[in-house]
Amino acid sequence: MKKLKDKIEDLFDNVIINDFYQNRIFVKTNKESVVSLLNYLKELGYDHLALVSCVDHVEENEFELVYILSAYIHNEHENQEKTNIIIKTRISREKAKFTSIINLFENAEPYEREIFELFGVDFVGHPRLKPLFLEINYETPPFRKDFDTRKFVDDFFANIPIIEEIEDEK
């Protein structure tokens, strides 16, 4: 039987696979083939999307989106490997945009909303892309590396005046 690594390499170009660690496969790919790769892996039985995350590479002006997949049930008859699959892809940081994968994995919804709110990545095809956690609007999304928290604290919280007590009229 073919190993999972070879199966993916046969079907997809532009993938770099690293299976150095036990029970873990890192797949680096370009942004066009992420959705088809996720679709393929879901059909293979890796039907649990554990996480969608985002990493800000500010020097390279790129965001890295991370998808972690695993299988709920380990199917030994079909020689399915018991492993976590970590899919990484890079997107541009300017006007960051990516395809939503809600049609494939429904539980991606809160993750994508979170990334939209904290990193400012626009997910095309997401039905409810609106703020999830934050109460106020920030000019730069706060998890971006170029968001200066200390400057924000000085501008925003330090400018709120201390309560001055009104003295009683005698």
Binding site: F133, L134, E135, I136, P142, T149, V153, F157, P161, I163
Partner: protein, 180 residues
């Protein structure tokens, strides 16, 4: 009853009963709430000091703010505080409500809580031990006895300033002002 205190009871029964029946709102924020279950149950037994957790803010008069206050929690804190009946006392618990603590440069955490609601006393430390709660409570007794725990009167008097500060954070609040 302590015989020495009979005079005090006769002079100001209301003050004495406020003092010995502090009902704390069971409001959890931040990590300090982990100190509350041991202090209200058998290990430290807060009922010795007349403190008992109240199920809702309308039956409570002690508000322990037990940790960092994020912008979302502040909204809930203001609403809870405004629902409590007078006289009401607030105690900031831990170093985060005092000046932000370890979240001093966080984008989403309030730095000085007494800009938004009045605080009668602070407990410093990260984390304060349950004993520190009782030290604070005995201090609060003294303050109540000497008419110094007047946070709720301050709130009523300077409500415009408090409301302005609250609105500065959120832009607009979705409930009407408590006082005119």
């Amino acid at each position: 009853m302590d015989r020495n205190q009979i005079g005090k009871w006769l002079r100001s029964p209301q003050k004495m009963s406020n003092k010995y029946s502090l009902h704390a709102v069971y409001f959890c924020t931040g990590c300090g709430i982990i100190e509350i279950p041991p202090s209200i149950t058998t290990r430290w037994d807060a009922e010795r000091f007349g403190i008992i957790p109240a199920p809702n803010p309308r039956q409570a008069n002690l508000f322990l703010i037990t940790g960092y206050v994020s912008l979302k929690t502040l909204k809930a804190i203001i609403r809870t505080y405004e629902q409590m009946l007078e006289p009401k006392y607030t105690v900031g618990f831990g170093s985060c409500p005092i000046n932000g603590g370890m979240y001093w440069d966080s984008y989403n955490t309030i730095k000085k809580l007494d800009k938004y609601i009045p605080i009668d006393g602070w407990i410093a430390g990260c984390m304060p031990r349950p004993e520190a709660i009782f030290v604070a409570v005995t201090h609060l007794w003294t303050l109540i006895e000497k008419d110094m725990a007047t946070g709720y009167i301050k709130y009523r008097k300077n409500y415009k300033q408090y409301r302005a500060n609250q609105e500065k954070i959120y832009g607009s609040l979705d409930w009407p002002p408590l006082y005119k």
